[in-house]
Symmetry: C2
């Protein structure tokens, strides 16, 4: 049975993007459904009756409904494992742990960057104000950690591509695509990641027709 993936109707959720990329990379057939967050559709009972956390993304597989992007992508990885399918997480146990570290961190920290550089600035080029002191402090923390993770001339964080690359590139692009100061090594890394066909397929959703 093909999957359904619920995403926000503006295609701005980085977590929906991560799940979309996961399904696309695995080569699984899926239908995209949208939830109009501005209209509050995620709080309507038609959605909440199925989606426990009333957030996007949600993965539908028959009667099984799963929210939270990392729960979805771990589930897809376990259900459609390498080598038959592309790996979403590193094979090495410690690298896999570090990839999960990056994903968990980007979802629970750096709130000022996420608020002051919301993804409409990434996907639509929406104008933004200069970073506040709190925003700059969070940007500095992001850049400091990313500079340790990203190795000059290496396209991916780990031995092979993983979803941590997708999530980190998105977070860096909040700054880069706004013209905020970011070291060249990190710009090169994010630019390279952004060319990935599965991400380009997500971006194309913004330009129908």
């Amino acid at each position: 049975m093909p999957f359904e993936l619920y995403v926000d109707s503006l295609f701005t959720s980085p977590y929906a993007m991560s799940a979309f990329v996961a399904l696309t990379e695995k080569g699984l057939p899926f239908t995209v459904k949208t939830v109009d967050l501005e209209a509050g559709q995620q709080k309507h009972s038609a959605y909440t009756a199925r989606a426990l956390t009333a957030r996007v993304p949600a993965l539908i597989e028959g009667d099984f409904v799963l929210t939270e992007s990392t729960a979805i992508t771990e589930y897809l990885e376990e259900s459609f494992p390498a080598p038959e399918y592309i790996a979403l997480y590193p094979k090495d146990r410690r690298q896999r742990a570090q990839a999960r570290q990056v994903q968990a961190w980007l979802r629970s920290d750096l709130l000022p960057v996420r608020a002051e550089r919301d993804t409409e600035t990434v996907f639509f080029g929406k104008a933004s104000q200069p970073l506040t002191a709190a925003g700059q402090a969070a940007a500095d923390k992001l850049i400091h950690a990313a500079s340790q993770l990203v190795q000059e001339g290496r396209p991916n964080l780990f031995d092979s591509w993983s979803l941590a690359d997708v999530d980190l590139a998105l977070m860096l692009n909040r700054l880069i695509l706004n013209g905020d100061e970011v070291p060249q090594k990190l710009k090169d890394y994010a630019t390279g990641q952004w060319r990935r066909p599965s991400i380009q397929q997500w971006l194309e959703r913004h330009q129908p027709g």
Copy 2:
């Protein structure tokens, strides 16, 4: 080599508690080290040079340092798997996905509950103000989802105990131990979980001697 686990010096971090419970349940030898968050020790280079995200908990295994509680507990689960060691996550693939869903959700949503019912109210009985409208709305969302997850008369969310039980019980106790209104079914569930020896060992850290 025994593990080291860095936690906050007041033992109030629910994420540090989750990692502490994981190591304790697995029966692994480990030493607890503390970071004084009020004094800003987590930002000192002695800590940040090792701990990528400058947060607690951090797990140290020789030269390998890992932050973010779910990355730590997934790593422990993979390194010390069932049946030789107790399982931290459900065996069934979909139940395991749902446990991860709960963990990811509790770390990234319900901010007003986390802010207005900080864990000092859980661990030290610190007095708190009535919930604001935003706090009550988040509490209602928590109760609504938890009521779907918790089954009357069943001690755990899934077929066997998992870390999702630890995290959900902690979140519910933010309300219960403050005297906020919570359905009896959820009170019974959280009270049962709280008796678990590994959680009691964490609580005893607050009362040395």
